[in-house]
């Protein structure tokens, strides 16, 4: 379901294959088939993520967008289908050299200082010891948190923690970043500011970013392309292009184009959202409407 237009972006890594992530006919089942817990989370999903683009996975709760992200990142083995990242097949094994994750919960370890968190992340990823502090401080400076290097995560506010979380995701210099609703726990103001920072980061480094969200405005503001998913079982309903260069300024949100795009998305999603809510009600035991 991918459109053909290929843009060249500043900071694009010319010479690398244009398709960073390829997802082909991925189906995901949870629970044993036929049992009470059999769940079809994803149904025959195919997708291509171009290098250097910001791609959003947008859909109602339970549509499988996080599952898809985890499959792409090698945290879950797909029931069927094939995924490849940077040309290499991915099958339930994480690829820390190619992919960095930023999760919704702050996964900074509360028993280490910020700097120690970075060091341990780099150690996990087998980066040579000599580079640790340099990369850590550079990443922290990029998000403006360098002076908190010796603090513990619990001493920071939620917004600051997510900022550091993001910095940890970029300090390894992978070319792909997978983000699972990273701003969901933040207040709106922090979300807006961090969104802007993310856009600047994209423009500067040319990373490929796959971003899961259920916020329409966030999707429009950040993405080059938005993949709209259906309610469970998750399929790709449509892919929407957003033609606006990065880095994006807040003025983009004032353009009539922005509002139209958002309304279009809502129109597409409204039925899916209602379906998802009905499914949730059924699960909780209430009588279906």
């Amino acid at each position: 379901m991918s459109s053909q237009a290929s843009d060249s972006r500043p900071g694009d890594r010319s010479g690398s294959p244009p398709v960073a992530i390829s997802v082909r006919n991925v189906t995901q089942r949870f629970g044993e088939s036929g049992s009470a817990q059999d769940v079809l989370a994803l149904d025959d999903v195919s997708l291509e993520v171009r290098r250097g683009e910001f791609l959003c996975l947008l859909g109602p709760s339970g549509c499988g967008k996080s599952t898809l992200l985890n499959i792409v990142g090698g945290l879950i083995k797909p029931s069927s289908g094939a995924v490849s990242v940077n040309g290499k097949p991915v099958n339930g094994v994480p690829m820390p050299k190619d992919i960095a994750f930023v999760f919704q919960e702050s996964t900074l370890f509360p028993w280490y200082t910020i700097l120690e968190n970075f060091r341990i992340a780099l150690k996990f990823q087998n980066v040579p010891k000599a580079e640790w502090d340099g990369r850590a401080m550079a990443a922290l400076e990029a998000v403006g948190m360098a002076q908190f290097a010796q603090h513990y995560p619990t001493q920071l506010s939620v917004g600051m923690r997510q900022r550091v979380n993001m910095a940890r995701g970029i300090c390894v210099s992978t070319d792909i970043l997978l983000m699972d609703e990273p701003f969901a726990a933040l207040d709106e103001q922090s979300r807006m500011v961090l969104g802007e920072d993310l856009s600047i980061l994209l423009a500067r480094t040319g990373k490929t970013i796959v971003f899961v969200t259920h916020s329409l405005a966030e999707a429009v503001f950040l993405s080059d392309r938005i993949v709209v998913m259906t309610a469970r079982p998750g399929r790709i309903k449509t892919v929407v292009d957003v033609n606006e260069p990065h880095p994006r300024s807040p003025d983009f949100m004032l353009e009539p184009r922005f509002g139209e795009l958002r309304n279009d998305l809502y129109a597409m999603l409204r039925d899916e959202i209602r379906l998802a809510m009905a499914a949730q009600r059924e699960q909780a035991g209430a009588a279906p409407r």
Binding site: L75, P94, P96, E105, W111, Y112, A121
Partner: protein, 254 residues
């Protein structure tokens, strides 16, 4: 909240002082049989005699060494079993209720068996103490490792951490506070069971001395030992709770 902790401490100390005063005055009037409750002076004399003749240290040494050995065994076996069981949801579901259920039976019941197997020397007390302390350690270990938030493990995995790295940098730091709490409880249980075993049947140690002095109706000596044990236990408890309160005040992990 440090002020309430302080007032609690003061009340406890005042309570002890009042008890001591009551002891002194009730025995001074001569209305209580010297056998049941000897005056504090007699108890103090008995205690000094114990120290001077060296009986005190030899008995304390036996009890401490026995407790240490029993505790070490319980730690190694309990933590080992607990960790292995916690590795799988299935194993946890099968065995945790078994261990927890067994623990509701007083292990004291099996003490005669230990006497049968190991005789009345320290061996039976080591085995008995280790068996008793095994349970809280195993249960705490299972609970601690099972309570590590999955998102920490997922993050470490996503960063390419090896299993050993996950153990060292995620599991251990996350579980340590809970484990230490369990270890403290287990130590108290281990010490109490060794003491109990010595009281029931042994040839040496503090418990043996308490039972022996009771048998010989040398109540002054019995009280001397009891007061020593109580004072030690209460002091250690004071220290332990103070440390805990300090750690909590510093706003530890999470």
């Amino acid at each position: 909240m440090k002020r309430t902790a302080l007032t609690a401490r003061l009340i406890q100390l005042a309570f002890i002082a009042i008890l001591m005063a009551a002891w002194h005055f009730s025995t001074a009037s001569g209305s209580i049989s010297k056998l049941f409750l000897p005056p504090p002076s007699a108890v103090w004399d008995a205690f000094s005699r114990l120290v001077v003749t060296g009986q005190f240290w030899s008995a304390v040494r036996v009890t401490l060494v026995t407790t240490a050995q029993a505790y070490l065994i319980a730690l190694v076996v309990g933590a080992g079993v607990g960790y292995l069981v916690s590795r799988s949801r299935f194993l946890t579901d099968v065995f945790e209720p078994v261990i927890a259920g067994l623990f509701t039976i007083p292990i004291t019941l099996f003490f005669p068996m230990f006497i049968l197997f190991f005789g009345i020397g320290t061996g039976s007390k080591i085995a008995y103490g280790a068996s008793y302390a095994f349970f809280p350690i195993a249960l705490t270990t299972i609970a601690a490792f099972n309570s590590v938030e999955p998102h920490f493990l997922r993050a470490a995995r996503s960063m390419g951490a090896s299993r050993r790295e996950i153990f060292r940098h995620v599991l251990v730091p996350r579980t340590l506070p809970v484990l230490i709490g369990g270890m403290r409880i287990a130590f108290v249980i281990c010490f109490a069971s060794v003491l109990g075993g010595e009281t029931l049947s042994s040839i040496a140690g503090v418990g043996r001395n308490i039972a022996l002095s009771a048998e010989l109706l040398d109540t002054a000596r019995m009280y001397a030992w009891i007061v020593f044990v109580v004072v030690t236990a209460v002091s250690l408890n004071f220290i332990a709770t103070s440390i805990e309160q300090n750690a909590a005040a510093k706003g530890n992990v999470s």
